[in-house]
């Protein structure tokens, strides 16, 4: 427990240092945050446009979809805020930057996560919150303590699920990137995706992880419960409470896969 607290303190310390560095460029920081807000807002505008013509989608009204959307958008925004730097991992693995993380006395995942906090990502959270407010105002929800709790829990639980899935899938880079070829790809700007071994994770597994789990457990089931809506798919209602279990399971799986993956790290020549 003391370790956890100390790790959190270190995370905050590193993040604070990074924020200070970013604030040095105040103007560009403000522009980027606003830009991020508008880009993500466009997603929602698309949904509004669809609903301008169709009053309901598969039994879901515009406001209900907004709730669904807001929950998943918020989970994704927090995920991006915390672990967005995983986007860099393939590059770090390819060019050997990851070496530095292996010689420091902290978990590698911790170091990746704490390495590059970008405040502009807050823009996405603002957008998610606005949509959520819209949904809550328009919808006539019969609030109970359990429903409020469900909404409050849906965001952190969903965020954990997203983060775990991201870690789980990005771990592939430790297997696929081989130093020399990778170094070339890096220098010549070759595409990383072209070297992706599609068969490393089975196709159904990727679909399940990539679409089914996030859509179902992060937003769909919690929304059904909050709205007290009968499940159009007629799935067992116990699934509406399964998200925390899914979060724990995916988090453990992500931790294990990451651990194994790092042992396959090949660094880069030099």
């Amino acid at each position: 427990m003391g370790d956890l607290r100390e790790g959190a303190a270190l995370y905050l310390r590193i993040t604070a240092a990074r924020i200070r560095a970013q604030l040095q460029y105040r103007a560009s920081f403000a522009l980027e945050t606003v830009g991020m807000f508008f880009v993500t807002f466009l997603d929602f505008v698309v949904i509004l446009i669809i609903f301008a013509n169709v009053p309901a989608l598969a039994g879901w009204s515009r406001a209900e979809v907004a709730l669904l959307y807001a929950i998943s958008a918020l989970c994704f925004a927090f995920t991006d805020l915390v672990v967005g730097q995983l986007d860099w991992l393939s590059e770090w693995v390819r060019n050997g930057t990851f070496d530095g993380m292996l010689v420091r006395p902290r978990g590698t995942l911790f170091q990746v996560i704490s390495s590059d906090f970008q405040i502009r990502r807050v823009g996405k959270i603002v957008q998610g919150l606005l949509v959520l407010v819209y949904a809550l105002v328009v919808l006539d929800i019969q609030w109970t303590p359990a429903r409020a709790l469900m909404l409050a829990a849906a965001i952190p639980v969903g965020t954990v699920i997203f983060i775990s899935i991201w870690v789980l899938t990005i771990s592939i880079v430790f297997w696929t990137v081989d130093g020399r070829e990778a170094a070339n790809a890096f220098t010549y700007g070759g595409s990383f995706l072209a070297q992706f071994p599609i068969n490393l994770y089975d196709r159904w597994l990727r679909r399940f992880l990539g679409y089914v789990v996030p859509i179902a457990f992060v937003a769909y089931f919690p929304s059904l419960y909050i709205l007290d809506k009968p499940d159009p798919l007629g799935l067992p209602s116990i699934l509406q409470f399964a998200a925390p279990v899914v979060a724990v399971v995916t988090a453990i799986a992500a931790g294990l896969v990451w651990r194994v993956a790092v042992r396959h790290y090949q660094s880069a020549g030099g």
């Binding site: 070496d99 006395p105 978990g107």
Partner: protein
């Protein structure tokens, strides 16, 4: 039998690389980067780890520091298996890769140090003391507040060296710590390492292509080529062993086929210039010169004294390679 601080036995590392052999074709090949290394390093030693490009030096260092999992063999560093006890080991070692940036790219140097202090849980007093020492010895003050990305190479390496040592490591692994530094900076880094070794008993394993580093710092060297150890011993012994081979450089009046003189062997020719190697214990320079002038018209002569550089060059080129197994020089 007590254990040495670093013990390596039968260490191997293979890399599987895929090469493009056509538009869509790829061939897989295995590179034996490290191919059966056995050596040990005692506490307090400074060991120079040298070898030509691609010999496997960096790969070895990465296995010793827990970055790469070995393909085969056994490693013990301070009694720990590096990849199994990575974080524990990290507290006890300092690592520097001269060719890579390990500090936070956009943070001022001093902030990087502050963060590392917390990462390594260095006590406030210890930290203040160490930082003061490094600031003075490595002259960090002019750029302590500068973001790492704006530092010159030499400034950055000094920063990285400080970062590697803030937590008082027992062992320093330095992969080309002086690469790209000017003479003054090199000198400063060498002094610094010697001092750390003398005053704090820090054990140092360093790779370099600058043999002056070796001359200045290391009493013992390991030479590796194609992933195999070809020399393990004292620097002086290496010089003694290969040193007697001195070289007489003769400029002939006109180009000629390699001269044939007793006690000397032509190792290289370039137009009218010939390099004649000889064993100083068997024939004197004067006698050799007499023998040469007896068979050819000579315009000029110079005598090259043996130095570590040429000895090592010969070993790299395969001329002085022992027939089997590493030479033990001590």
């Amino acid at each position: 039998m007590t254990m040495a601080l670093i013990e390596v036995e039968g260490l191997r590392k293979d890399f599987t690389v895929t090469r493009k052999t056509g538009v869509l074709r790829r061939a897989r090949a295995v590179v034996h980067a490290v191919d059966g290394l056995t050596f040990s390093v005692e506490r307090g030693e400074i060991v120079g780890y040298i070898g030509p490009n691609g010999a496997g030096k960096s790969t070895t260092v990465k296995m010793l520091t827990g970055i790469l999992v070995p393909t085969a063999g056994r490693i013990s560093v301070g009694g720990l298996v590096p990849t199994d006890r990575r974080t524990e080991l990290a507290r006890r070692i300092g690592v520097l890769f001269g060719q890579r940036v390990q500090l936070w790219w956009d943070l001022p140097l001093i902030e990087s140090f502050e963060l590392l202090r917390h990462m390594y849980r260095v006590g406030a007093d210890r930290y203040r003391e160490n930082l003061a020492t490094f600031r003075e010895l490595l002259e960090l003050d002019p750029f302590l507040g500068t973001p790492v990305r704006q530092l010159s190479l030499g400034q950055r390496v000094r920063g990285e060296l400080t970062a590697a040592m803030l937590h008082d490591p027992e062992i320093l692994f330095l992969d080309e710590p002086t690469i790209g530094l000017d003479i003054v900076a090199k000198q400063r880094v060498r002094e610094f390492l010697l001092r750390a070794n003398r005053e704090h008993g820090v054990t140092v394993l360093l790779t370099t292509h600058d043999l002056a580093d070796i001359e200045r710092l290391a009493r013992r060297i390991l030479i590796i080529d194609h992933g195999r150890l070809i020399y393990d011993g004292e620097l002086e012994a290496l010089k003694r062993r290969f040193g007697p081979r001195r070289v007489l450089v003769v400029d002939l009046v006109e180009p000629a086929p390699p001269l044939r003189v007793d006690g000397g062997e032509v190792v290289r020719t370039d137009g009218p210039r010939q390099w004649i190697a000889f064993d100083g214990d068997r024939i004197t320079a004067a006698a050799l010169i007499a023998a040469v002038t007896a068979v050819a018209a000579v315009r000029d002569l110079t005598l090259e004294e043996p130095e570590i550089e040429s000895v090592v060059r010969e070993i790299y080129a395969g001329r002085a390679r022992p027939e089997a197994g590493p030479i033990r020089g001590s």
